[in-house]
């Protein structure tokens, strides 16, 4: 954040306007990333700081796919379960991993089915400890978004995030879990409920 940088006054800071979470700007664009990197390192030659240099280039916008509809029928059905949804996404996740040669799933040490079972149990019964639950949820979140990137028409990262919150049983499970965690007497459950479960932009979905 520029405002925070102006308070802390580090020796040299490069200001970029890219989406939070993408400090080098554009995935799979080595030339763009290289320009950002060189601009940051070039500031080391200057000694007139503390300085904030405005990076002149913006990340190219993603195509406007408002109205994009997920090509895979994943909208939850009344009888649906989280584990069934996870099973339906597994093929797409496997395709994504095969294409990229890597996955960011794997913090919890659980299989995605076991992570799904932990979330299901948390909703239905006693809450597990906050940290393993948080890691299982983060693994599932990564699993869903990586799977969606391999759909025949994957849309954009923005439409995939909208799909996640609008259409998946898992997102509905997170929204249902939030008040239960918030009501827990455990401080770590409360932190999960109030800070690290639902993004600020999606908290309006909490009833």
């Amino acid at each position: 954040m520029r405002e925070h940088t102006e308070v802390v006054r580090p020796p040299r800071a490069l200001w970029v306007t890219f989406e939070l979470g993408r400090p080098l700007g554009v995935p799979d664009d080595p030339a763009f990333q290289g320009r950002v990197l060189r601009a940051a390192l070039a500031m080391l030659e200057r000694t007139d700081g503390p300085l904030i240099v405005d990076y002149p280039e913006e990340a190219p916008g993603e195509l406007d796919l408002s109205g994009w509809a997920c090509p895979i029928a994943l909208a939850p059905r009344p009888e649906d379960t989280l584990l069934a949804e996870i099973g339906r996404l597994a093929t797409w996740y496997d395709r994504a991993v095969a294409r990229r040669g890597r996955t960011t799933v794997g913090m919890s040490g659980l299989s995605v089915a076991a992570a799904g079972a932990l979330v299901t149990e948390a909703l239905a019964g006693d809450l597990p400890a906050a940290q393993p639950l948080k890691l299982a949820i983060d693994d599932l979140r990564a699993f869903y978004l990586e799977a969606a990137s391999a759909f025949p028409d994957p849309g954009t990262s923005r439409t995939r995030r909208a799909w996640f919150w609008d259409e998946t049983t898992f997102a509905k499970a997170l929204l249902a879990l939030q008040p239960k965690l918030a009501a827990s007497g455990d401080r770590q459950h409360q932190i999960l409920a109030n800070l690290t479960l639902i993004p600020a932009t999606e908290r309006h979905r909490l009833s």
Binding site: V16, F18, G21, P23, A142
Partner: protein, 156 residues
């Protein structure tokens, strides 16, 4: 690499406002000249909550860091940052958009910088600064022992 609060959706801007996030202030800013870039040894210090698969995940209030050797394959990098308020799909697609290790390696090979550190590091940005200070002081010693004279801090 920083953004303005006013560019964010209102709820995110409120979440990150200076009323809620206490930033440390310092009486002065240490700023030193150094050798030309082509002679510098550069380390990446991320605050994206990155670590090798199997390393300790980050937890709320965690001011410690994780070690990422330069030769770590991309497939072994995971992110356990506790925040849900930034995009992760970019990292899922290409780790270099968060942790530009391949770009730095290319720059070193092309002579744009002298060399790349043998080890890089990641903190998890959502920590109180006091919690990180002892770890940061220790890390400074490690960087010196690796003969690093340029640190590229990459927040998310």
């Amino acid at each position: 690499m920083v953004k303005r609060l006013r560019d964010l959706p209102e709820v995110e801007a409120r979440h990150l406002s200076l009323d809620r996030v206490v930033c440390p202030t310092y009486d002065d800013t240490p700023l030193l000249a150094g050798p030309p870039l082509a002679g510098r040894r550069v380390a990446i210090i991320s605050t994206a909550g990155l670590h090798k698969r199997g390393d300790r995940p980050f937890q709320p209030g965690d001011g410690s860091y994780r070690v990422i050797p330069a030769e770590t394959p991309a497939a072994d990098l995971v992110m356990s940052h506790i925040s849900v308020n930034f995009d992760r799909t970019g990292f899922q697609q290409d780790h270099n958009v968060v942790f530009p290790i391949d770009r730095l390696r290319e720059l070193a090979a092309a002579g744009g910088v002298g060399s790349m550190a043998s080890v890089h590091y990641s903190f998890m940005g959502a920590f109180p600064p006091d919690a990180a200070e002892p770890h940061a002081r220790h890390l400074a010693g490690l960087l010196k022992s690796d003969k690093v004279d340029a640190a590229l801090l990459v927040p998310v």
